[in-house]
Symmetry: none
DNA sequence: TAGTGGTCTAGACCACACA
DNA sequence: GTGTGGTCTAGACCACTAT
């Protein structure tokens, strides 16, 4: 498996930034120096640096150089359209998923309302803690309608439900609705997360819709305050998508 | 004033898409064709196309071509960008805006970096507290490039800068980038907000771009934890199942 | 003035889609 | 096979920052 040169350089530089080989507020070597070090053309270096810049790791200033920014937080494009697995890979940090609960339940009133589901349909309930660099900082509570996802295994949950739904079940996700707010920590948060003394968590509710506009998944993601970061692009669209 | 070649091509292609010269779900000419038409190198064409792609106007598919996406040609309602005034109206609660600062400044390094602005351009700095039902719960810090917004009055700031920019100045906003995270309260927060004992605020940074991809406004919005709420719709950005 | 990042060129080879 | 977009090269000139 061949990795692109500019991606390899991006990952290598990122690793060095994370290791502290390049300190925040210091300058990276110039593009010419880097092209010599990596024995490649300057344009290729520039592709790697532009990636670092777009992801918020460095700031390029014309005539001066590329400055390393201070990043202690993680980018979470919290949309259900990006999986934790992809994020973990992108962040290049040791990450782990711990499945605490996986069961088929009769939804209570709250879940039924959130999922807009019929009376007798069962629902998958999954509770997972997400660990990055040894700290459990996210608690994900997923609820999926069984009529769309007949089978769900521990294995799938440890890997990526999203990948499974898209690639195996071939369900086509069209859009998601998000709600974000801050909540006091619950007993469940304290049980499953390393809260580090914080009394609040950032809650992200995510409603995921299929192409026929049917709601098939509802996720509540609870993030430790200090590690939470959300990045998003909002393009103008004609109408905010109307929900059924 | 010389415009970059790739930006000129980007704007020209965008214009043609909006005019309907390229229809949604149809293919653009290939990169080789375009490089001949515009008498430039393929890499320059690629920079223009990548901009179109990043802004959601086309989708590039390896081995096939670049497909025009269906983005509303005459789209005015904004998604992701909602002004405080609209929010207040929607919530139907007594709301007020208090303008604490309104001045034309020489941007410092931080603001210059955020706005990606030229050296000697002045910048409007506006600091406003937002009060709902008698409680000051949001602190808005706006920075707008003067070259786009020559005049700004206290009156406009108390009403809606956004409305003024769109309706009076007729600037056409194409997309915005948002970053959200939690920060410790600052002295400024304590001075202008009713913090109710909370030690953290939710910070929303908003970068607003015009149609030619130039950044004209940067806003930092600081929300009291318990009153913060964000709702958004996210459509898929990647549409792998397009076209016959 | 020397060094930096930003743009641009005219090639080249590759991986992928499609007929 | 041909044609597409993706990557990469080795130059070049420009605008900007520093000294």
């Amino acid at each position: 498996m061949k990795e692109n040169k500019f991606l390899a350089i991006y990952n290598d530089l990122l690793l060095q930034i994370r290791k502290g080989a390049f300190q925040p507020n210091e300058k990276l070597p110039s593009e010419n120096e880097l092209s010599q070090q990596y024995r490649t053309s300057r344009e290729t270096i520039r592709k790697a640096l532009n990636l670092l810049s777009e992801h918020g790791y460095i700031q390029k200033i014309k005539g001066k150089g590329s400055i390393v920014l201070d990043v202690g937080k993680y980018d979470f494009p919290v949309s259900g359209l990006v999986s934790f697995k992809e994020l973990a890979q992108k962040m290049n940090k040791p990450a782990r998923t711990i499945v605490h609960e996986l069961e088929l339940i009769e939804p209570d009133e709250y879940i039924k309302r959130q999922l807009e589901t019929e009376n007798k349909e069962k629902v998958w309930k999954v509770i997972r803690a997400r660990e990055i660099e040894g700290e459990k900082i996210i608690l994900d509570k997923d609820f999926l309608c069984q009529k769309f996802v007949p089978i769900l295994t521990r294995d799938i949950c440890e890997n990526s439900i999203y990948e499974y739904v898209e690639n195996e079940l071939k369900l086509r996700i069209s859009f998601a609705k998000k709600e974000m707010f801050v909540d006091r920590v619950t007993a469940e948060d304290q049980k499953y997360l390393d809260l580090n003394g914080y009394e609040h968590v950032v809650v992200v509710k995510n409603f995921v819709y299929l192409e026929d506009a049917s709601l098939f998944q509802f996720t509540e993601s609870r993030h430790r305050l200090d590690k939470f970061r959300f990045v998003d692009f909002a393009r103008r669209t004609h109408q905010p998508h109307l929900l059924p």
